[in-house]
C-alpha cells in the first residue's frame, strides 16, 4: 500500500504518546504495517513532543521535512511551528486551545493571535480542520481526552488506512479500563467536529 506519513506535535503532558499507541494498535488490527518514532527526552519538562508515524511499506520510522501527508497539532502555535514538515498537499488538523510557552509569559516573544495562526496555516496548506479540542475534551468529561478528540478528527479525515471501527476497538484495548467510555465519547466528538468544520 501507499506509504502515509503522519506527524503529531504536542506539548509535554498532552498525551500524544497514547494517541500514537492507539493508532499503532488500530494499524495492527487492520493489517497495516506501522513504525513510529518519538522524541520525548525532556517531555516532562514542558518541551515539545513530536511523534512520527509511518503507515505502509516504507521502512524508515522518521519523516523528513516537507514529507508529512498529515500533520496533527495538539496546540495551535506548535502546529504553526511544524509548517516546515508540510508540503503543499499536507492536510492539517489543529486544536485551537492555546498552551502558551513560559517564554511568552516572561516577555521573550509574543504568542501569535489564534486567528492569525489559522490564516497562516490555511494560506499554505490545502485542507485545515481547526477547532477547540479542549472544549470537546471537557465535554467528554476530562481535559486529558484532548488527544483522543484529535484522533477522532484524524480518522474522519480519511487520510490513513484506518476505519472508525478499528480505531474505536484500539481505544478500547489501549486506554485505561475506567476511561474507555469517556475516550469513546471524546473520539466521537472529535470525529463529528471535524465533519462540521472541514473545508
Amino acid at each position: 500500500m501507499d506509504t502515509k506519513r503522519l506527524i503529531i506535535v504536542a506539548v509535554g503532558g498532552q498525551g500524544n504518546l497514547l494517541a500514537s499507541k492507539v493508532l499503532g494498535e488500530a494499524a495492527l488490527l487492520s493489517g497495516v504495517s506501522v513504525r513510529m518514532s518519538e522524541i520525548h527526552g525532556m517531555a516532562q519538562r514542558g518541551g515539545v513532543v513530536e511523534s512520527a508515524i509511518v503507515f505502509g511499506d516504507a521502512q524508515s520510522s522518521i519523516i523528513s521535512d516537507g514529507e508529512a501527508d498529515m500533520l496533527v497539532g495538539f496546540e495551535p502555535a506548535e502546529t504553526l511551528r511544524a509548517m516546515n514538515r508540510c508540503n503543499v498537499n499536507t492536510k492539517v488538523i489543529t486544536s485551537l486551545s492555546p498552551v502558551p510557552p513560559f517564554t511568552a509569559a516572561i516577555g521573550r516573544g509574543v504568542y501569535p493571535e489564534i486567528e492569525n495562526i489559522v490564516s497562516l496555516i490555511r494560506e499554505r496548506t490545502p485542507s485545515l480542520v481547526a477547532f477547540d479540542a479542549m472544549k470537546l475534551a471537557k465535554e467528554a468529561g476530562n481535559p486529558m481526552t484532548l488527544n483522543i478528540v484529535l484522533v477522532g478528527a484524524l480518522v474522519q479525515s480519511n487520510v490513513l488506512p484506518l476505519t472508525r471501527e478499528t480505531v474505536e476497538e484500539a481505544i478500547t484495548l489501549r486506554t485505561k479500563k475506567g476511561f474507555v467510555d469517556m475516550n469513546i465519547k471524546a473520539f466521537n466528538l472529535g470525529f463529528d467536529a471535524a465533519q462540521g468544520v472541514a473545508l
Partner: protein, 650 residues
C-alpha cells in the same frame, strides 16, 4: 504480570525499541543486569527493574557506569547471562574496566548496551561509541530496526558465549525511541545461580598474566572476524542477486541508515542497479565480504551516522584487494576536501573524487530525504521521487520558543534564586552538572557557567578556585554526587580548595525519569531491602568543615544560611533538601495547594522576572497563576514584596 514476560509465542506486541531489547534479554534468559540510567537507554533499565520485582532476575541501579560494569563483570565470570546498560557517555566512565575485561573475557554471556545519541536530543555530546569496540577489541552488533533489536540482543548473548567475550550492542536514539510490532519468542529459563571457578592465571591481571591474556584476546578477535564474515547480520540486498551483478552502484550502511537507504533506492527506482551491504556485525568488519561486494561495484557510497568508522575500513580493504572504484561517505561540508594543497607535486597521483557535491556529515542524525538526495547526487541519478513542494515558511512570524524548563514548584528553582540573592554583588563562577538542574542556566535564573560531564562541577570548582580570583559556587544533584562527585570533593578537602558546593538533594534521579540512587529512601516506593546513605554524614566524614542543610522553600532563612556558607574560607557544602516535585506528586506525598495573585498585585512582576515559574502567565496585561499546574511551593509568595500572592483556598 509485566507485559514483557508474556509466554505466548508468536504474539505481536507494540514495543518501544528499549522494550524490545529488554524482551530480547528476557528471551535469552538474562539473569543479572546492572545500569546507571541515561537517556536514550533509560526505559530498557526501567523494564528490567520492574521485571526483577516479579521474577528472580537480579537487577540493580548501580552508583555509576564503572560500578555497573564491574558488578556485571563478576556475575558474567560466575557464569550468569548478564547485561550492563548505559548511554554512550556512560561508557566513558566504564571504559577502565571494559578495556581489561576484554582481556579476561567472560563465562556467561555478557551484553553491554551503549545507546548513542546522534543530534544530541538529550546528551552533552554525540560521540560515536563504535570506536570503543575497536579500542577494546570486542565484537559489536548494531540493529537497524526495533524488531531486529530484539533478535540481535538474543544473538549478542549467544555470540558472547561462543567467543567468551563481552559483546557491545550499540543503538542510536532512533532505535531506542522508535516503536514497532515485535513477535515474541520463547523465553529461556534463567540460570541465576553462578559459580566462580578460581584461576589466578586467567583472572589476576598482573603484567605476566595480561601479556598472555592479550594474546588470547587477539585470537578471539580473529575468531570474531571469521564469524563476522558469515554472520546473518551482515547481508547483501540486491534485486537480481545471481545474475549480472557487475557494474552495480554499491551502498554500504548500518543502523537506521539502512532503512533510509532501502527506502531511497526504492523511491529513486534504482533497485535493479543497486546493491546494498548492511553491516550489523560491525566489529570486526567482514573484510572478505566487503572485498567481494566491492569488486564489481562501479562506485561505493558508505552511509553511516557519526564518524567514518566503516568508510575508513572499506577504503583500507579496497586498497588491500586492489579495487580502485570511487568510495566515499563523509566528505561533508565540515570536512575539507582531500588533495587541496598548494604544491602540484603533492596532488599528483592523488585521485580527486569525481563528485563535487558535499556528501554526508559527521554531524547530527540523518533523515530519509537527506539520504535519498545524497544517493542521487553521488550516483548521478535524477531524483525522480515525486517532489511535493514544501510549504513556504517565509512570512510565519517568530513563535516563542518552548525550551524544556524546570517544573512548576521545582525545588531547584528556589535554591538557584536563593544562591543568586545570597551572592549578589560577588564575582562568582557557577560550575554546574548533569541533571534537571542543568536547565538552571536559562534566564532569568542564569545559574550555570560550565558543564562538561557527570561529577565535573566539583572538580572544575577546584580548578577555577585555584586558577582565578573568582568566588566559585557549584551545583550538583544527589544522584550525580554519588555517581562521581564524591571523589572531587575528597580532592577539594585534601588539596585545601576554596569554594562552595551546593548539593541539590531532591531524593531521586529526576532527569532520566525518577530512578533510585544510593540516597533514596526506597520504602517510599514500597521497596524493601535497600539501605540509603546520608549525604550529610558522608560529606562530614570526608572532612568538610562547613556544612549547611537548607530547606529551599523557606526563602529568607535559606538565603541567610547560604550567605554564611559563602563567607567560609575553604570547602563549604550546602545541602538543599526538598523532594523532586514531579516525583512527590506522582507518589502522592505532595498534594498541590495552588496559589493565586490577589488584587494587591501592583504589577512590578518580580515573580516573573526573578523566578519565572512556568505556572505564571499573562492575561490582559496582568500576571496570573495557573491553578492546574501550581503546586503551592509558596516561593513566589515569599519573594513578592507586596505580599500579593496567597493560597487560593485558606
Amino acid at each position: 504480570m509485566h507485559k514483557l514476560l508474556s509466554d505466548k509465542i508468536g504474539e505481536e506486541i507494540m514495543l518501544l525499541g528499549n522494550e524490545a531489547i529488554a524482551r530480547g534479554a528476557i528471551e535469552a534468559g538474562v539473569a543479572f543486569a546492572t545500569t546507571y540510567p541515561g537517556t536514550p537507554s533509560s526505559e530498557l533499565s526501567l523494564n528490567l527493574f520492574q521485571i526483577s520485582k516479579e521474577t528472580d532476575l537480579y537487577f540493580e541501579y548501580s552508583t555509576n557506569e564503572k560500578v555497573a560494569m564491574e558488578v556485571a563483570a563478576a556475575a558474567a565470570n560466575s557464569g550468569l547471562r548478564t547485561m550492563c546498560i548505559m548511554k554512550h557517555v556512560g561508557l566513558n566512565v566504564a571504559a577502565d574496566p571494559l578495556m581489561t575485561l576484554a582481556y579476561i573475557g567472560v563465562k556467561g554471556g555478557m551484553v553491554i548496551l551503549t545507546a548513542d545519541d546522534p543530534s544530541m536530543f538529550s546528551s552533552q555530546n554525540e560521540q560515536d561509541n563504535r570506536y570503543y569496540a575497536k579500542l577494546a577489541g570486542l565484537p559489536m552488533l548494531e540493529p537497524s530496526s526495533v524488531s531486529e533489536a530484539k533478535e540481535m540482543t538474543i544473538a549478542a548473548f549467544e555470540l558472547s558465549e561462543a567467543l567468551q567475550e563481552p559483546v557491545i550492542l550499540r543503538t542510536t536514539t532512533r532505535i531506542n525511541h522508535s516503536s514497532a510490532f515485535v513477535k515474541t519468542g520463547e523465553i529461556k529459563t534463567r540460570n541465576t545461580k553462578g559459580f566462580f571457578k578460581k584461576d589466578q592465571m586467567s583472572y589476576v591481571t598482573v603484567p605476566a598474566v595480561s601479556r598472555k591474556l592479550h594474546v588470547k584476546l587477539l585470537a578471539n578477535l580473529k575468531k570474531a572476524a571469521e564469524m563476522s564474515e558469515s554472520s546473518i547480520h551482515n547481508f547483501v540486498v540486491s534485486a537480481n542477486s545471481s545474475t549480472c551483478n557487475a557494474n552495480k552502484l554499491g551502498i554500504i550502511c548500518n543502523g537506521v541508515s539502512y532503512l533510509y537507504a532501502s527506502d531511497a533506492v526504492k523511491d529513486l527506482g534504482i533497485e535493479d542497479r543497486t546493491k546494498i551491504l548492511r553491516i550489523g556485525f560491525s566489529n570486526p568488519m567482514p573484510a572478505n565480504l566487503i572485498k567481494s561486494f566491492a569488486k564489481d561495484c562501479q562506485k561505493i557510497l558508505v552511509i553511516e551516522e557519526g564518524e567514518p568508522f566503516m568508510e575508513e575500513a572499506v577504503k583500507a580493504f579496497a586498497q588491500e584487494a586492489s579495487i580502485f572504484v570511487p568510495i566515499s561517505g563523509k566528505n561533508g561540508e565540515e570536512v575539507a576536501p582531500p588533495c587541496i594543497s598548494s604544491s602540484s607535486e603533492q596532488t599528483e597521483g592523488c585521485l580527486l573524487p569525481s563528485e563535487q557535491e558535499p556528501l554526508f556529515s559527521r554531524l547530527y542524525e540523518f533523515d530519509p530525504a537527506m539520504v535519498r538526495r545524497k544517493i542521487a547526487s553521488f550516483f548521478g541519478i535524477e531524483d525522480t521521487y515525486t517532489h511535493l513542494k514544501p510549504v513556504d515558511t517565509k512570512g510565519i512570524p517568530d513563535i516563542p520558543q518552548r525550551p524544556p524548563n524546570l517544573c512548576s514548584g521545582c525545588s531547584h528553582r528556589a535554591t538557584f534564586y536563593e544562591v543568586k540573592k545570597a551572592s549578589q554583588g560577588m564575582d562568582v563562577i557557577f560550575p554546574s552538572d548533569i541533571g534537571c538542574y542543568t536547565l538552571g542556566f536559562l534566564p532569568p535564573l542564569s545559574m550555570g557557567d560550565f558543564v562538561i560531564c557527570m561529577g565535573g562541577s566539583v572538580s572544575t570548582s577546584c580548578g577555577f578556585s585555584k586558577a582565578t580570583d573568582h568566588k566559585v559556587v557549584s551545583f550538583i544533584g544527589d544522584s550525580t554526587f554519588f555517581h562521581s562527585g564524591i571523589t572531587g570533593l575528597v580532592n577539594a578537602v585534601f588539596n585545601n580548595h576554596n569554594f562552595t558546593l551546593v548539593i541539590l538533594d531532591n531524593g531521586i534521579t529526576a532527569m532520566t525519569g525518577h530512578q533510585p540512587n544510593p540516597g533514596v529512601d526506597m520504602t517510599q516506593m514500597n521497596f524493601e531491602g535497600y539501605k540509603p546513605i546520608s549525604i550529610e554524614k558522608l560529606v562530614r566524614a570526608i572532612g568538610v568543615e562547613h556544612i549547611t542543610v537548607i530547606k529551599p522553600f523557606k526563602v529568607r532563612k535559606s538565603i541567610e544560611a547560604i550567605k554564611e556558607a559563602l563567607a567560609f574560607k575553604g570547602v563549604s557544602v550546602i545541602i538543599s533538601q526538598e523532594p523532586c516535585t514531579l516525583f512527590a506528586k506522582s507518589i502522592k506525598i505532595l498534594k498541590p495547594r495552588p496559589f493565586h495573585i490577589t488584587a494587591k498585585c501592583v504589577d512590578h512582576r518580580d515573580c516573573i522576572n526573578q523566578i519565572a515559574c512556568p505556572s505564571f502567565y499573562i492575561e490582559n496585561g496582568r500576571v496570573k497563576i495557573d491553578a492546574d499546574t501550581c503546586v503551592g511551593c509558596a516561593v513566589c509568595a515569599q519573594i513578592c514584596p507586596d505580599n500579593a500572592i496567597l493560597p487560593l483556598k485558606q
